[in-house]
């Protein structure tokens, strides 16, 4: 090119603004509820990861001689009817909840995300067909699905994850379809086409990355819902095979002793509540911070 570079001195001298990420972190750190939720989640993750180190007893070790013990120095939260240490079961229960929550949402995000993006991007008959399939999925209650899967495929954590994730696919699919449809109309997507970019490249490289903040926010809150779903299922005895420690199951097992040993049910129940609340607060905070940036303009 023959033209010499222009040097506009004031353009060169522009000061660097605080980058998006720093502003976001700055804002988040100031939000008390978000911080509370984040701390709870981190603690939960630590608990799950370091369970063998943290738990004083093996979670499934029965000890009939000390069954239904009251909280003491040895058993900080007492024991259940089979003599298993409640605290250890609580700690190991975090694993179950976390695995189910993350796995179910991850599967739903991937499957729902792909379906939604393809539907939104291609449009027309493809969109109509995919969205009707998603609608059908949505009409299946999660509980019924879990029961059916348990009956057909047998019990186990895997089927719980499958049931929950299938029931979560429709919301993610619809979210991605809506996001894709909106983003598709923006000028920067038209710009890609006007430059000659192939469609798939635009979909993967331009549309999807712009849709992910919405998915991130929604997904975080759905983890809480998934954990709640798992607790509900294991409370009903579906999926989780005893003697695996799971918070919902612990609530159920402690029920007969609610009057005399209330902590057996209440403590795991409170754990579920705290964790779900924490994920919701984190999701809220993320949404508040990401929302104006979602629109692209200040």
């Amino acid at each position: 090119m023959r033209l010499a570079a222009r040097r506009d001195p004031l353009v060169l001298a522009a000061p660097r603004h605080m980058s998006t990420r720093r502003v976001a972190v700055h804002l988040l750190l100031r939000k008390g509820l978000f911080m509370f939720g984040a701390v709870v989640i981190v603690l939960m993750i630590l608990m799950a990861v370091f369970a063998p180190l943290l738990a004083p007893f093996a979670p499934n070790a029965t000890d009939m001689q000390h069954s239904l013990a009251r909280p003491s120095a040895q058993h900080l939260l007492g024991t259940d009817n089979l003599g298993r240490d409640t605290l250890s079961r609580l700690i190991y229960g975090a694993r179950t909840s976390l695995i189910v929550g993350l796995a179910a949402v991850a599967a739903a995000v991937i499957l729902g995300g792909i379906l939604g993006t393809v539907a939104g991007f291609i449009g027309g008959i493809v969109q109509a067909v995919i969205m009707r399939i998603v609608d059908m999925l949505m009409s299946i209650p999660m509980l019924l699905l879990a029961l059916t899967l348990a009956a057909v495929l047998g019990g186990g954590l895997k089927n719980v994850v499958i049931a929950i994730s299938i029931s979560m696919v429709p919301p993610f699919a619809r979210l991605m379809a809506a996001q894709t449809l909106t983003i598709k109309e923006r000028d920067f997507v038209s710009a890609q086409r006007s430059m000659g970019a192939p469609r798939w490249r635009t979909m993967l490289g331009t549309v999807m990355p712009n849709a992910y903040p919405a998915v991130l926010v929604f997904g975080t809150m759905q983890i809480g819902a998934a954990i709640l779903g798992e607790a509900g299922l294991s409370y009903l005895g579906i999926g989780i095979q005893p003697p695996t420690a799971a918070w919902g199951a612990m609530v159920s097992l402690g029920f007969p002793y609610l009057v005399t040993h209330p902590w057996l049910s209440i403590v795991p129940g409170v754990a579920v509540m705290l964790v779900v609340f924490a994920f919701n607060m984190v999701g809220d905070g993320l949404r508040d911070v990401l929302d104006p940036r979602l629109r692209g303009t200040q």
Binding site: P9, L10, V11, A13, A14, H17, V23, H26
Partner: protein
């Protein structure tokens, strides 16, 4: 007041008062943002006299809209707030009234009316035009009880909408942008206010519609002997319709004067820069525009010196060391906020 049009065009009985009808003194408005406090309006003073058309001119971020919103106490309270100053209207300081108190509500709409940039956004999409006109009329004039739809029809006729009897039952989405703006003008003028503030009233409109709108506004305010404040960045509109101008930059008035003084003899480098950078329909072919170099200022962390300094090609040593000058008189009714007060000729049609 049963006939708004007759009442409006009858005008006020008094002859022109000697003092200004609106006086803004040292108004300050701040916005709190995560990155710091923005001094959007940083000590703005101006006067408005009876029966005149005045413009507040500037680019985005200069504070011209924030000033008018502050006068009307329409600022969004977080994050904005009025940090100081007075707005004297008919002997009272409007800023002393409570934002939604009875005195302020009486002034707002009834005595000082305001119309905004996007007319379709100012109208409620689920109510008919007639209903909204009647509601505005009742609120502005402080009436209670039933008001007939005839009021709405008369108002539509006043702003030149054909087939008013039929259109009064239409919804906003059935009106074009230009017609919506006419409806807003009708609402604003329904109780013959003393002042009409128009915030970028024509920016969203087509050129021919723009011309119609401005002619209409001028005609009506002249009939009502009201004063019109046009907030705009369009220098052409200003040159054609306006008698006095306030030029704003970075939250302050940098030059003020009659239209002929400002265009014919601009003294502030920013004003001069604007005039030289705007293309004119009647200029000679091959003219090159002289842009104002650099970028608009960052209103957070402003230095004490002149805000225009980084972009000014006329700066002298004093500009770098002293704080921003006060507004000083450079002619009859003509003031500028500058140590240099340039004396270059503004562009004429043949010159470039």
């Amino acid at each position: 007041m049963s006939d708004p049009v007759a009442a409006a065009t009858a005008g006020s009985g008094d002859t022109a008062a000697r003092g200004p009808i609106l006086e803004v003194r040292d108004l300050r408005v701040q916005f709190r943002t995560p990155l710091g406090t923005v001094n959007a309006v940083d000590g703005v003073s101006y006067e408005l006299y009876e029966d005149e058309i005045v413009a507040v001119v500037g680019e985005s971020g200069c504070g011209k809209s924030a000033t008018q919103l502050a006068v009307m106490q329409l600022l969004q309270s977080p994050p904005g707030r009025i940090a100081g100053g007075e707005v004297i209207f008919e002997g009272n300081d409007l800023l002393k009234y409570k934002k939604n108190g009875p005195e302020m509500r009486k002034v707002r709409g009834g005595q000082i009316a305001m119309i905004f940039q996007e007319p379709i956004n100012s109208l409620n999409p689920v109510l008919t035009i007639g209903d909204q006109l009647v509601e505005a009329y009742q609120l502005h004039c402080g009436l209670k009880g039933q008001t007939s739809t005839q009021v709405a029809v008369d108002l539509l006729k006043m702003v030149g909408i054909p087939a008013a009897e039929k259109r009064v039952r239409d919804y906003p989405h059935q009106f074009s942008g230009g017609m919506c703006q006419r409806v807003m003008i009708a609402m604003g003028l329904s109780c013959s206010p003393r002042i009409l503030i128009a915030d970028e009233p024509t920016t969203a409109l087509d050129v021919t519609t723009q011309a119609q709108m401005l002619e209409l506004m001028r005609k009506l305010v002249r009939q009502m002997r009201a004063s019109l404040v046009i907030v705009t960045h369009n220098l052409g509109v200003v040159a054609r319709y306006v008698e006095r101008i306030y030029v704003m930059y970075a939250g302050r008035v940098v030059e003020s004067g009659s239209t002929k003084d400002i265009f014919g003899n601009p003294r502030h480098p920013y004003t001069l820069g604007l005039l030289k950078s705007v293309p004119r329909l009647d200029e000679a072919q091959g003219c090159r525009l002289v842009p104002i170099e650099g970028m608009p200022p960052n209103l957070i962390d402003m230095p004490g010196t002149c805000a225009f300094l980084p972009r000014c090609s006329y700066a002298v040593e004093r500009c770098r060391t002293d704080s921003w000058p006060e507004l000083t008189s450079v002619g009859d009714g003509h003031r500028a906020r500058c140590y240099v007060n340039v004396e270059e000729v503004g562009r004429g049609p043949a010159a470039c």
